[in-house]
C-alpha cells in the first residue's frame, strides 16, 4: 500500500467529513468537546496515541517538541486516545508520564477517527477550520520516519513529516504529505468493536 496512491481517494472522504459533527471527542472528565478549538485558531493537531503502544510511546518526545514549538503559533494540540478499553485514569497516568502539559481526550464514538481516517497510533492529523464550524484535514500521517516497519527502527529519524507539514502550514505553503505507511498499533475504536 502506497500512501501517494491513497491520497486522491482520501480527499473525497475528507471533504465529506468536513461537516461539523456534534462533538469532537470527550475530555477525560466526561465533558464533550463541542468545539475543537476557539474560532480564531489557525489549526488543530490531533496526535492519535495509545497507553500501551510502544511505537506511539516512542513518538512522544517528538510530539511534545512539536506541541511546544507550534502552540505559540495559534495551533492547538490534542492527544487523542481512540482505543476502546482505555480508561480516563489510565490515560491521565500515561499522559502525565509522557507529556504532562499536553491535553488528552477520548474518542468514544470514533468521531475523530472517522473525521481524519487515522488508523494506527501514533499518527498526526492537522486540521484547519472551514466555514460553519467545520474542520478540514490538511495532513494525516506519520510523525516521522523512525520506524521502517514493526521491528525495524532507525537510530534517529531522517524525516520529520509532521514538523515539515506544520512549518509549511505556518508559512502558508502547500503541505507535503508524508511518504510510506504509518507504522504502529492499529486503532480499535469502541464503535468498531460494537
Amino acid at each position: 500500500m502506497v500512501r501517494r496512491l491513497l491520497l486522491p481517494l482520501l480527499w473525497g472522504s475528507v471533504w465529506c467529513a468536513a461537516q461539523a459533527p456534534s462533538h469532537f471527542g470527550m475530555y477525560l472528565d466526561g465533558t464533550p468537546l463541542t468545539r475543537m478549538a476557539p474560532a480564531q485558531t489557525k489549526a488543530v493537531v490531533l496526535f492519535f496515541v495509545a497507553t500501551e503502544c510502544p511505537i506511539s510511546n516512542r513518538a512522544f518526545p517528538e510530539m511534545e517538541r512539536l506541541r511546544e514549538t507550534f502552540s505559540p503559533r495559534n495551533i492547538r494540540f490534542l492527544y487523542v486516545y481512540p482505543n476502546a478499553g482505555e480508561t480516563p485514569a489510565e490515560i491521565r497516568t500515561h499522559q502525565a508520564s509522557y507529556d504532562p502539559e499536553g491535553t488528552a481526550i477520548l474518542d468514544p464514538d470514533g468521531a475523530l477517527v472517522r473525521l481524519t481516517h487515522a488508523f494506527v497510533t501514533p499518527e498526526a492529523a492537522i486540521l484547519t477550520p472551514v466555514a460553519h464550524h467545520g474542520w478540514k484535514v490538511v495532513y494525516i500521517g506519520r510523525i516521522d520516519d523512525r520506524f521502517v516497519h514493526i521491528g525495524l527502527q532507525r537510530p534517529q529519524p531522517t524525516q520529520l513529516f509532521a514538523d515539515r507539514a506544520l512549518t509549511q502550514l505556518v508559512a502558508s505553503e502547500p503541505i507535503t504529505p508524508d511518504t510510506g505507511t504509518p507504522i504502529g498499533c492499529t486503532i480499535t475504536p469502541a464503535h468498531a468493536i460494537r
Binding site: 500500500m1 491513497l6 481517494l9 482520501l10 472522504s13 500501551e52 503502544c53 510502544p54 506511539s56 510511546n57 516512542r58 513518538a59 512522544f60 518526545p61 517528538e62 482505543n83 478499553g85 508520564s97 509522557y98 477517527v113 481516517h117 488508523f119 521502517v148 516497519h149 514493526i150 521491528g151 525495524l152 527502527q153 532507525r154 537510530p155 534517529q156 531522517t158 498499533c185 492499529t186 486503532i187 480499535t188 475504536p189 464503535h191 468498531a192 468493536i193 460494537r194
Partner: protein, 656 residues
C-alpha cells in the same frame, strides 16, 4: 486495501467471529501465546504490553500478525538447519500457520474453558539467592535520543572463593534494558582505570584486564528480556574470588518518557568446585573492518585451527548496527562441515548467546570459520550515520565489530593435562591474532605471559621486547619483562626493568613488589621495606606483600615487626599452614614457647600429612618439657615419612 476498508473490515471480522470451523483462542491459540509470548508479555514483564488474555491479544492483533509474519517476534535470529540450539524461541511453522489462520478467520475466542495462563512473579526464580548485588543508584535514561550503553561495576563483598552455579538478573525496569552482559573483572582493572566508575563507564563493549595469570575458566553470562535464571551445567560452576568485580554491561533504550533502572544480580553458590573448565575462544576480524561509506556488502573472514579436540557448548556472534549476514562453521579434518550458526538479518537489538542443544565435538585439526557481511549503505535503516561515513572497528556503538565467540570444553589427549590443552588453545588463538595483526598488543602480551607460565622465558623476553617497542612506557609490560629476565637469571637487567616500570608509573605496585623481592634476594633490605610498605598502603589485603615484609623484618632481626606482618598474612590466608609455621618459628626464636606451640599445632592441623611439621612440633614440645607429646609428634612424623632422619634422631634423643 485502504484505511476505510481496514477499519470497518475489523468490525465485520468481529461480527463473524463466532464461526467455529477453524482454530479458536480458547482451544488452540492461547497455548501458543503461553508457550511463546507471555514470558515477556505479561504485566510487569519486559514486553511493552501484556498478552495473557483474549482481550489483550485482540487489542494488538494487527501488531501480532505483522510481528510474527516477519518473524520479528518471538525474537530469534538463527536460520533453522544451521546449528542446533537449546531454548529456541523461533515460533514453530505449524504454530505460525495456525495463528495466521485464526487471525484471517476473525480471531474467534471460541467456547469452552480458557486455559490458565502461566503465573509470573517478581521474585527470584530459584528461591532466595546466596548473594544479591545491586547497583548503588539508579541509571537515568532520557525520554528520547539514541540507545545508551553503559557499564556498571558491582564489587564482590565476600571473602574467599565461591563457586556460582546459577545467576539471575533483575534489570530493574525491564522495558528499558535491552540486554546485559556480565563480565568478571578479576583484577579490578576497570575500577583502577576509571576512578569515577561509580557514575558508570560508557561503551557498548569494554575490555577488562584478566591479569597475569592464565585464567581459562570462562562462561557466557548474558541476559536478554526473555532470559530465565542462568543455570550452569553440572560440574561447571564459575569461580568468584575475593576482590573480583562483576561488570554489568547494559544496553538501554529510550521509551519515550524519562526512565530509571536499578539492576540486581542474584548469585547461587555451590560448595562443589568446578570439575570441568570451559573456556572462551574468539574468531575476529576487527583489523579488516574499514567499511567504505555506501558499501552495502562488505565481507570479513577469520579462521582458527584447533590444536586440540573440543566440545562446543555455545556461541555468541557479535557485530554492531552495520552487521547484516553472519555465518560460522567448522571444517573437520575428514572434509565434512558442521554449521555453527547462520544469521541472515543481524539485529543487535535481538542479539543473544546461543547454547547448543548438545555439545558439538570437534576433533583436533578442525578449522573454525566465520564470515560476516556488513551493510554501510543508506538503505540500511539501522545505520547510525546518515549519510553513511567510513566505519572502522571500535567499542562505541557507531563503530563496528566482527566477533564470534565460542564456549568450548577442551579435550586433552593421553599425556596432556587439561591445563596444557587449554594453554594450547590459548596459544593458537593468540598466534592467530598476531598473524592478522602483528602489532596486536593484547596478543603479544598474552602470548608472552603464556610463554612465561609454560617455562619458556627466553621466548617471553623476545615477545615482551617486541611489545615494548609499541608501548615503551607500559608499566605492566616492563614489569613482566623484568619477571622473564629474572627467570633466566638476568637479575640486574630485571631490576632495570622494574625500576623503569616504576618510573613510568610510580603507583604500579606489581613493579614495587617484584623489585622488593629482588632486593630481598640481594639483601637490599631498606629499599625492600620501603617498597613493600608502599604496596601495602595501596593494597592492605595483599597477603604476599605481608609475607615478604615479614621476611624483610626478620632479615633485620626486627622480630616484633616480623610477628605483626606474619599475623596480618595469616589473617588473610586462614587455611594456609605457612604463616602458622613462620609464626611458630618466630615465637620460638623469641623464646615464647607457648605461642610457638600454639602456632605449630595450628600448622599441623592444617597440614596433617606433613612429616616435617610434626617433627618441628615434636622439637617444640620437647623444649617445653612435654616429652610424651614430643614422642607422639616424632612418631607421627616417622609414620608419615619413615625416611625422615631428623625425626628418627629426635625420637632417639628423648629419654624413654
Amino acid at each position: 486495501m485502504n484505511r476505510l476498508l481496514l477499519i470497518f473490515g475489523l468490525g465485520c471480522a468481529v461480527t463473524v467471529a463466532h464461526a467455529q470451523q477453524g482454530p479458536t483462542y480458547r482451544r488452540q491459540i492461547a497455548p501458543i501465546f503461553y508457550r511463546s509470548c507471555t514470558s515477556c508479555h505479561h504485566a510487569g514483564g519486559s514486553g511493552p504490553f501484556s498478552l495473557t488474555t483474549y482481550a489483550e491479544v485482540k487489542r494488538f492483533l494487527s501488531v501480532i500478525d505483522n510481528a510474527t509474519s516477519t518473524r520479528y517476534m518471538p525474537p530469534w535470529l538463527p536460520v533453522p538447519g544451521h546449528g542446533s540450539f537449546a531454548d529456541s524461541r523461533r515460533l514453530p511453522d505449524d504454530d505460525l500457520s495456525l495463528l495466521h489462520e485464526w487471525i484471517r478467520a476473525g480471531a474467534p475466542e471460541g467456547a469452552g474453558p480458557v486455559p490458565a495462563p502461566p503465573v509470573y512473579n517478581a521474585t527470584w526464580q530459584l528461591g532466595k539467592p546466596d548473594l544479591v548485588l545491586q547497583m548503588d543508584k539508579s541509571i537515568s535514561i532520557a525520554a528520547d535520543g539514541t540507545d545508551l550503553f553503559t557499564n556498571v561495576i558491582l564489587p564482590n563483598p565476600l571473602r574467599g572463593t565461591h563457586w556460582v552455579r546459577a545467576m539471575e538478573i533483575h534489570p530493574g525496569t525491564p522495558r528499558v534494558v535491552h540486554h546485559a552482559n556480565v563480565l568478571i573483572d578479576r583484577t579490578a582493572s576497570l575500577r583502577r582505570t576509571h576512578p569515577d566508575w561509580r557514575r558508570g563507564i560508557p561503551g557498548m563493549d569494554i575490555n577488562v584486564d584478566s591479569g597475569d595469570a592464565f585464567d581459562p575458566d570462562s562462561h557466557f553470562l548474558f541476559w536478554k528480556p526473555d532470559s530465565t535464571a542462568l543455570v550452569e551445567p553440572a560440574g561447571m560452576p564459575w569461580r568468584l574470588d575475593e576482590g573480583n568485580d562483576l561488570v554489568l554491561n547494559l544496553h538501554l533504550k529510550p521509551t519515550g518518557k524519562p526512565e530509571t533502572t536499578r539492576a540486581q544480580i542474584a548469585l547461587y553458590f555451590t560448595d562443589k568446585p568446578a570439575t570441568q573448565h570451559p573456556m572462551l575462544l574468539q574468531l575476529e576480524s576487527d583489523a579488516a573492518l574499514d567499511i567504505p561509506a555506501g558499501d552495502a556488502s562488505f565481507p570479513v573472514e577469520d579462521s582458527l585451527t584447533l590444536p586440540v579436540a573440543v566440545d562446543v557448548l555455545g556461541v555468541y556472534p557479535h557485530a554492531h548496527y552495520l552487521g547484516k549476514r553472519m555465518e560460522a562453521w567448522a571444517a573437520l579434518p575428514d572434509g565434512s562441515r558442521k554449521d555453527l550458526i547462520l544469521i541472515e538479518d543481524w539485529d543487535i537489538d535481538r542479539q543473544s548467546v546461543y547454547r547448543l542443544a548438545h555439545p558439538l565435538p570437534l576433533p583436533a585439526g578442525s578449522v573454525l570459520h566465520m564470515r560476516y557481511v556488513y551493510d554501510n549503505s543508506a538503505a540500511n535503516a539501522r545505520n547510525p550515520h546518515s549519510p553513511p561515513i567510513r566505519v572502522r572497528a571500535g567499542n562505541r556503538s557507531e563503530d563496528e565489530m566482527a566477533h564470534f565467540w565460542l564456549q568450548v570444553l577442551p579435550q586433552s589427549v593421553p599425556g596432556q593435562t587439561e591445563l596444557q590443552a587449554r594453554q594450547a588453545l590459548q596459544r593458537a588463538w593468540m598466534e592467530n591474532r598476531l598473524t592478522k595483526s602483528p602489532n596486536d598488543t593484547l596478543a603479544l602480551y598474552n602470548l608472552a605471559s603464556l610463554d612465561l607460565t609454560t617455562n619458556q622465558p627466553t621466548r617471553a623476553i623476545e615477545l615482551f621486547r617486541q611489545l615494548l617497542l609499541l608501548t615503551p612506557r607500559d608499566a605492566r609490560a616492563l614489569t613482566a619483562l623484568g619477571s622473564a629476565l629474572n627467570a633466566t637469571g638476568q637479575t640486574s637487567e630485571a631490576e632495570a626493568q622494574f625500576r623503569a616500570a616504576l618510573g613510568a608509573d610510580p603507583s604500579y605496585t606489581d613493579a614495587a613488589f617484584d623489585l622488593a623481592s629482588l632486593d630481598l634476594q640481594n639483601g637490599v633490605l631498606p629499599e625492600a621495606e620501603t617498597l613493600l610498605k608502599t604496596t601495602l598502603a595501596a593494597h592492605p589485603d595483599d597477603a604476599e606483600a605481608h609475607r615478604l615484609l615479614a621476611m624483610v623484618y626478620a632479615g633485620q632481626n626486627q622480630l616484633v615487626q616480623t610477628l605483626a606482618e606474619l599475623q596480618s598474612w595469616q589473617a588473610l590466608v586462614s587455611n594456609d599452614p605457612d604463616p602458622h609455621r613462620a609464626l611458630a618459628q618466630t615465637y620460638a626464636q623469641m623464646g615464647r614457647l607457648p605461642e610457638a606451640l600454639r602456632e605449630q599445632r595450628a600448622a599441623v592441623a592444617l597440614a596433617p600429612k606433613s612429616a616435617s611439621d610434626f617433627n618441628d612440633l615434636g622439637v617444640m614440645e620437647a623444649e617445653a618439657g612435654n616429652a610424651a607429646e614430643a614422642r607422639k609428634a616424632f612418631t607421627r612424623a616417622l609414620a608419615l615419612d619413615p625416611a625422615l632422619e631428623a625425626a628418627d634422631a629426635n625420637l632417639k634423643k628423648l629419654k624413654p
